[in-house]
């Protein structure tokens, strides 16, 4: 109804009754309740918070001082407004408040899958081309791509919230270019110092570019387009990983993966601008916030690559890189689903309760339920992976799977706090985790004969466990505080 009312206020049809007709009707009616059944009258008079508001509405509808004086015998608009205020009883207008957070649903699984695709494509590409990329390829691309994706999303959403469409496209365009350039520079540096092939250089740059490109498409609400473009690469990757390589499938898969990556990049680039640079104007504090998001992305990327990739080295099994990382990757969508469900649930809660004392326990309950659903999902995925590994007559890397569950839960709590604008707490938690894990790694180095991989991995797991513990401890106050939502 609201749009109809607003429309009539601003543009009555020339032959429709005007506001004069409504006012006349109110003044001549003994039953004001009947008179105000007209929506325009209800809008102007019945719901007004004071008589000045009625005066403003009358003027906006074309009633000047002269008109009021000539047609209604009142000295001015304020007098007429006061008369209407006294005649028409207050009637509240019911407004449907739009939800900021939509309820999570099954479609979020697909959105989560988009985040998981880069790893899938890279692994499939390795198999299809029968090449071995350097060890640093995936860690570099996932860590750097994650960090760049975080800044890109922050810049894009922030400028969009300021209705700065050009700034949004410029910021994201420059982020994409900066990501490609910096990845290439870092990869060539590593290539020079550590060694590796140019294939690794290309793969690292390609994956990072893809990650930021897909983040851009998601941010620009082009999920369907992103899914369509990724379809060929994702399907062919699954085929390669499930059924193995072959003279027909391998070239097809390589082409599909290349097409998916290039078209995703092209689709993202088509939505961006790189000039005029002077139109990109940031607010004080934007760079600081962007840096924090970048640091956060680096920490998350480093944690994921250390646990999943280094863990696969520590717990060597033939399908380790593919299967070991699966529980976390396949539950990214569940994470998104449960986060949305929690936030939408809290939003509905604030719209329904009338005492602030009721909020804390109910919000905590909503958070617990969403967290438990995610935990259940990742535990089930881990059990499924264990069964799959057992079917290959190998012993599942239980410690690695447990570490992944811890990491997944940490990511979920982390994501929840970031969505509540508490990146500061998240960074503090990660700092505590890194400090603890780092201390442990150093101690192990000097006190045990573990190899370097095992030392680093052990330190990483302790870091993640510590981070999770701190996150859980710090999150309680935020989640149960109504003003945080």
């Amino acid at each position: 109804m609201s749009s109809i009312l607003a429309g009539k206020m601003m543009d009555p049809e020339p032959n429709e009754p005007t506001v004069h007709d409504w006012v006349q009707r109110i003044r001549s009616s003994s039953n004001t309740t009947t008179a105000q059944s007209d929506p325009v009258v209800a809008t102007i008079c019945a719901a007004a918070v004071d008589s000045l508001e009625i005066a403003a509405s009358l003027e906006a509808s074309g009633m000047s001082r002269q008109v009021v004086s000539e047609q209604y015998g009142q000295p001015d608009v304020f007098a007429l407004a006061h008369e209407l205020w006294a005649r028409v009883p207050f009637r509240a207008v019911t407004v449907e408040q739009p939800m900021i957070w939509r309820q999570g649903n099954i479609s979020d699984l697909g959105r989560g899958a988009l985040y998981a695709v880069p790893a899938l494509l890279l692994v499939a590409l390795t198999r299809a081309l029968n090449v071995e990329f350097s060890w640093w390829t995936l860690p570099l691309s996932v860590t750097w791509g994650w960090a760049a994706g975080q800044v890109t999303a922050y810049a894009g959403y922030t400028l969009r919230a300021r209705t700065d469409g050009i700034g949004e496209r410029l910021a994201v365009g420059w982020m994409l270019m900066a990501t490609i350039l910096t990845t290439a520079v870092i990869a060539s540096g590593i290539l020079t110092i550590v060694g590796g092939g140019w294939g690794s250089f290309l793969a690292a740059t390609g994956v990072t570019t893809y990650m930021v490109s897909s983040a851009i498409l998601l941010m620009r609400d082009a999920e369907v387009l992103a899914a369509g473009l990724l379809g060929p690469g994702a399907v062919s990757s699954v085929v390669i990983l499930a059924f193995g390589t072959g003279p027909f499938w391998s070239p097809v898969a390589v082409v599909c993966i290349a097409v998916s990556t290039v078209t995703t990049f092209a689709a993202a680039a088509a939505q961006l601008r790189v000039s005029p640079v002077r139109s990109l104007i940031l607010a004080p504090g934007d760079v600081r916030m962007g840096s924090q998001h970048f640091a956060h992305g680096l920490l998350c990327g480093a944690a994921l690559t250390t646990v999943a990739i280094l863990g696969s080295e520590v717990f060597r099994n033939s399908d380790a890189p593919t299967l070991n990382a699966l529980p976390l990757l396949v539950t990214l969508g569940v994470m998104e689903w449960q986060l949305r469900s929690f936030r939408a649930g809290v939003e509905r809660l604030t719209m329904s309760i009338r005492s602030i004392d009721d909020f804390s326990p109910m919000a905590a309950g909503l958070f617990r339920r969403a967290l438990l659903r995610y935990v259940a999902a990742i535990v089930l995925a881990s059990i499924a992976v264990s069964v799959l590994i057992r079917m290959h007559d190998e012993s599942p890397p239980y410690l690695l799977l447990v570490a992944q569950i811890l990491l997944g839960v940490a990511f979920y709590v982390d994501l929840t706090l970031v969505s509540l604008s508490r990146l500061d707490l998240v960074l503090r938690s990660w700092a505590a985790g890194v400090a603890t894990g780092g201390t442990l790694s150093i101690s192990l180095t000097f006190t045990t004969s573990f190899n370097a991989d095992a030392v680093i991995w052990s330190g990483a797991v302790v870091a993640i466990a510590t981070t999770l513990a701190v996150l859980l401890a710090l999150s309680h106050n935020v989640i149960t505080d109504a003003m945080s939502h």
């Binding site: 104007i281 602030i356 945080s484």
Partner: protein, 540 residues
Amino acid sequence: MSETKLNKRVPATAPVVLADACRPTESGRVIVVSLITEGTYPFHDGGVSVWCDQLLRGMSTYEFQVDAITATASEGSSWDLPANVSAVRTIPLWGPTGTHRPLSQLKPEVRDALRWLLHDITSPTDVIDFQISLQRLLPYAQQGTLRASLLSKEAVGLTLDALTPHAPTGRRVDTLATRPTVADAIACLRTLEHLLRPLCVPPPMVDLCHASSNGIGVLLAMTAKWINSTPFLLTEHGLYLRERYIANSPAAIPHHQRAFLLGFYKQLTAAAYQMADVIAPGSEYNRYWEQANGADPAKIRPIYNGIDAPNFSVPSGEPDVPTLAWVGRIDPLKDVFTMLRAFAIVRAALPDARLRLFGGTPKGNDQYLRACLDLRKHLGLEDSAVFEGRIPSITDGYHAGHVVVSTSISEGFPYSILEAMASGRPMVATDVGGVSEAIGDVGIMTQPRNHRAIAAACLQLLSDPARRADLAMRGRKRVLDLFTLGVCLARYSEIYTALTTRCEDEAAVVDGGGVPISTSRHLPDGLVGAIRAEATAWQR
């Protein structure tokens, strides 16, 4: 000097120091004026920004600092600043801030002050009470703790208590609003936190605060007055409160949130009227609204906008075919629909007639432009009514018609009317805001939204060259006599002199051991000195 600690992380940009080229006054002292703007100069175009630019350039013996209330401080400057502007400070209401950290418990004095402020907003009574509530919160704003206090759990509870009345006081009730929810309280507090941000920055340390509009910016002038007895001049072109009422329709915002928001604006604007030493509305029309909201009539001195009339030449002839010119932005408040409908009637009587519409479409009004184009098509005017967008010389737009038409449903004292008259064209205009004061008897006034009356007036003038010529000549004369930039600036100069002279006299009393006349008794001992020191350091 007090030991009161003030917050160093105020959410405002440091002043951008510019060239200092102003001249000292006869007394040898340069008078510094803070020109307070909100959403206008120097970051946006529009009538108020034109006025600001004219004022700054015209009052060249004064040094100005521009205190601009902005959205995020990421706005780019749209104007070249004159040499006598020494600094521009932006105070963003919605930009990034520090992290919100939940506050476990409010200090008793903050709780008490907040309770009163919320009560003053939701149950407006005496505007002095509202001012006192703001003053009591000022120390916490300056110390940087107000934000955390407003975003606390206790504040939510206080707000729910304050919102509880279901209907406006003293009115019969047909249908009660539902009781306020926690979401209502949260929305109210979040908005209040943004709107009170100017309280958190150091007040302008100047000789005079001149607010270019009522609204959020006046908090700076109010603070300066409380802290330093700085005189306060309030100019009002549009009517801030009236525009807030129109913008926040009952169908768009839940009742409790709307009542809270409008209650705040009403109290704030009334407080500004109460605290201003002089209120200088842009028209007599504004006076009625100001008085209706509690302004003292003795303080109101309308000053009409002025234009640099010699810049607007008189054309030698008229267009070949009967033409109406319309100049303005494509906006619902300009009521382009009525213009098109009126023109359809004109066109039916004069098949050769043309309508030329000049002016850009602001961001967000694209849908309205599309609706206008649809209506034009519906009325069969596609060949005869042309939207020509922005043009380099606005004078060409006025000269393009035999008659210039204004169909606005809301106006202050529009430059476009003065410019059209100065350009030697007769006007047909709707009687809104200060338009009748501008036009007087040298144009035809009609009711707003009455397309038939507008069409009749246009046809009358299009068919009567002698009357057109007479109105055009008298219109230009009227502008040259009454609405020149020189007249406008002279009025402001008088007020500046009067207010700053009085300020110097009062300063002498203070220096002699007195107490600043307007300094509030509700500010704690020591705080005034601390805020002054902080503001002076900030200024430097």
